[in-house]
Amino acid sequence: MKISKKIIDNLKKGGVDFYLSVPCKLLANMIDILENDKDIYYSAVPREEEGMGICAGAYLGNKFPCIMMQNTGIGNSVNAIVSLLQLYQMPVVFLISYRGTPGEPVGAQGGMAKITEDILQTLRIPILHCSSEKELDKISTFSKHAKVVESPVAILCDFNLMKDDK
């Protein structure tokens, strides 16, 4: 719970006040925290691409949105990212559980893991790659950066960082 709490605390410190998630077991603790937090808006959403749309609307309404998802969700969302969030220069934080990185038991997750960072780089999305607890301290500044550059940004949280967060 310590890691999850630290991530949420840093996102809130960065000004994020509107959260969506498409579930992942690595995000389960964060979802629990958000469901019980009265200071922010939180909802589950069935599909990441749709979540990008809801985040865009939330930004228009002056919220600072974050969508939490597996890295597979980036694959589901490429056009929404390019033709909506980037076209209108909308800051949104992607909090991504980086499935398929070392420690991952499910082989099928490996395919998207191999190309996740390439996709984000092709999309010119700034990346904060968190593989240790220390790096989580950078999340609040990195989130604020999304607003300054008016762009989506991506935070990748490695499998091994999240897996023992009981």
Partner: protein, 189 residues
């Protein structure tokens, strides 16, 4: 009645609300009929007009009308479940259902065959789902906006057909900034 006729009929209602308008011809026709700062023309991302409007309605108090199409809703049908479970009362989804992909050459959609978006929306958990003719749409939209306790999905069944029209000449950032300024959120403008 086609989409252009319908947009003409509802334009006075739209002017008083925040509007997210669907990609392609719907936005281009609305722009030609009446361009307003409180109209957000969605220039890319087919399927997401309903979702953008939902996020906007959840984030501020003004009434939001998402204008979507049958082809677009079919592309992002899961959003009806999110709307059914999460839409606040300041949200109305207006689906202009002409049974065709208007912007791409009027190919038939499945709503012109077996699919009923009304049944889909009801099954997805939306409570106030109205299917009506183009002529009845003004009245149904007014009722939806006047009801301060419930959100609505209005499916306006009209004929296919488009008006020959140019792309919207506005820069996306202009659309974004004047829209946010209208809501009263952009301080640097």
């Amino acid at each position: 009645m086609n989409r252009f006729d319908l947009l003409n009929k509802v334009q006075n209602i739209l002017k008083d609300n925040l509007v997210i308008c669907n990609i392609g011809l719907p936005s281009q026709e609305l722009y030609k009929i009446s361009d307003q700062p409180n109209f957000f023309y969605m220039l890319g991302s087919m399927g997401l007009s309903s979702s953008i409007g939902l996020g906007l309605a959840l984030s501020q108090n003004k009434h939001v009308i998402s204008i979507d199409g049958d082809g677009s809703v079919l592309m992002n049908m899961n959003t009806l479940a999110t709307i059914g479970n999460r839409a606040p009362s300041n949200y109305t989804l207006l689906i202009i259902d002409n049974g065709s992909y208007g912007s791409t050459g009027d190919q038939r959609t499945f709503t012109d065959e077996k699919t009923s978006l009304k049944d889909v929306a009801l099954g997805a958990g939306c409570k106030n789902v109205i299917e009506c003719s183009g002529e009845e749409t003004v009245n149904e939209l007014n009722k939806a906006i006047d009801d301060k306790d419930n959100s609505y999905v209005i499916i306006s069944k009209i004929n296919s057909g488009n008006v020959k029209i140019d792309p919207i000449p506005l820069n996306p950032i202009t659309i974004r900034d004047r829209f946010r300024k209208f809501i009263g959120k952009v301080k640097y403008l």
